[in-house]
Amino acid sequence: MSDGDYTADEMMTVAASRALQNGQVCFVGIGQPSAAANLARQTHAPDVVLIYESGTLETRPDVLPLSIGDGELAETALTNVSVPEMFRYWLQGGRIDVGFLGAAQVDRFGNINTTVIGGTYLKPKTRLPGAGGAPEIATSARETFILLRQSPRAFVEKLDFITSLGHGSGGSSRAEAGAKTLGPTRLISDLCQMAPDPETKELTVTTIHPGVTRDQIIAATGWDIRFADSVTETPVPEPAELAVLREIHARTARAHAGQA
């Protein structure tokens, strides 16, 4: 915390929440994306529609869910649909504007790995949870935002496994693979924001969070990271945004601690 009273994680969550526009329909991943999406709903985007893969449609949780199917999500939803309906009608049917994804690893084209690291697929060094809904969110949502803390272990030159397609090998390769949607249009980390270059589709730094240096970003990236021609500073979190975010986390901690 160099400049003002907030953490790097709070900056990341606030920047991600601002990326969501009021009225958009958002398919929400668990963890950081869920915090950002609910912060957006409780600040500048009261009519953002949040959908979780457990089938909770237009949900308005008061506390953040620990799992993708917490009772809080069902109780505050407009309606609850089956998981096949969720994936067939609502996601594959083209009803989702933004897919909000986390990841274990990402490469320069926004491809995501959540399957295995190191070794072989059958005998990996690290077995990750796997795909979940992400492969189809990544190709059926109109666009996706990726939210991930930046480090050389997470931002890698080459993925051991592509679980969810980003911009493939760059250029037009995503469309050639059969994806008809935009793919990752934005990556938000705890250091900066990136967007794909219009031609090469390589993720390029567009805004740097206050107090962060280019050298920090370079050191935290496993590939030779590029910066856009005009890089701006990410606007600092507003006191009101921080207050709402901290209240969400406090309510969540109280709710989860209360269950013995």
Partner: protein
């Protein structure tokens, strides 16, 4: 069609689950059939193909206790906490025995259950575009739409020998009501050859509205009343998810001996439906 038999959990498992069966235990975070899974462990079933979109702690326990030969899944973590250590130990180190895996995405498994319920040989959907899963799972293939030429993903329909689910209520004729997050349970039961449903209670009148999610008695093999049968997951309208248990599971499951000792005192030495609290 014969109606469901209302019986004890021990009988339901003994009658319907055999070594070598393929078994779907579904419930998407909600209504996970823990008590039934524990009874399968106690009865010592072996060489099972275990099928769940989200293996969760129940499959961590069944895999760690040596019930499984193969796992079919699409997201294998402890939600919001981290890894399933017993599942990882089986995949990474063959403990307590090798575990074959068949890995999918959620969209694929949901479609495969629906195809199974619909009596189709395979599921067709827009999925697996540009990712590596088809390289490691030869059941992921593609078909061309005969009308548009679009290449679509295809996987075999899910057709388990047995579906095991937990629900809120059954009536005395054996009709079952599910409420809240309903996941893929209806599809899993309709896709399976046999099915076991545990319920919180058996009542005179289900009380669902005209569009309630109901599984008719004649689609189910056996029903057992098991209050708290989904703990530590939850049953909408009965008890909340015990998030603290999910967090506490992490250190228990990290170590083989700690895990075995815990299972011995909390599952093996208890009777069906006694729960783990």
């Amino acid at each position: 069609m014969p109606r469901a038999v209302i019986t004890s959990l021990e009988e339901a498992v003994a009658e319907n689950v055999s070594d070598g069966d393929s078994l779907s235990l579904e419930g998407f975070t909600h209504l996970i059939p823990y008590a039934a899974g524990h009874e399968i462990i106690r009865q010592g079933r072996r060489d099972l193909t275990l099928i769940r979109m989200t293996p969760d702690i129940i499959f961590d326990q069944m895999i760690g206790m040596g019930c499984a030969r193969k796992l079919v899944f699409s997201w294998g973590g402890n939600p919001g906490v981290g890894s399933l250590h017993r599942m990882r130990d089986a995949i990474e180190h063959d403990w307590p025995q090798p575990l074959e895996i068949e890995e999918h995405s959620h969209g694929a498994m949901a479609n495969a259950y629906e195809a199974g319920a619909a009596g189709l040989p395979c599921a067709v959907f827009r999925g697996y575009i540009g990712n590596d899963l088809p390289k490691v799972n030869d059941r992921i293939r593609s078909v061309e739409c005969p009308f548009t030429g679009e290449k679509l993903a295809a996987i075999p329909a899910m057709r388990p020998d047995v579906a095991v689910i937990h629900a809120q209520k059954a009536d005395r004729r054996g009709n079952v009501l599910l409420e809240g997050i309903i996941g893929v349970q209806k599809e899993a039961v309709l896709a399976a050859s046999r099915s076991i449903v545990t319920v919180e209670e058996i009542v005179d009148d289900l009380g669902g509205g005209p569009n309630a999610v109901i599984l008719p008695s004649w689609t189910i093999s056996a029903i057992a009343a098991v209050p708290n049968g989904a703990f530590p997951s939850y049953a909408h309208g009965y008890y909340p998810r015990d998030n603290s248990f999910y967090k506490a599971w992490d250190p228990i499951a990290r170590d083989r001996e700690t895990f075995r000792a815990w299972m011995n005192s909390h599952v093996m030495q208890r009777k069906a439906g006694e729960g783990v609290q």
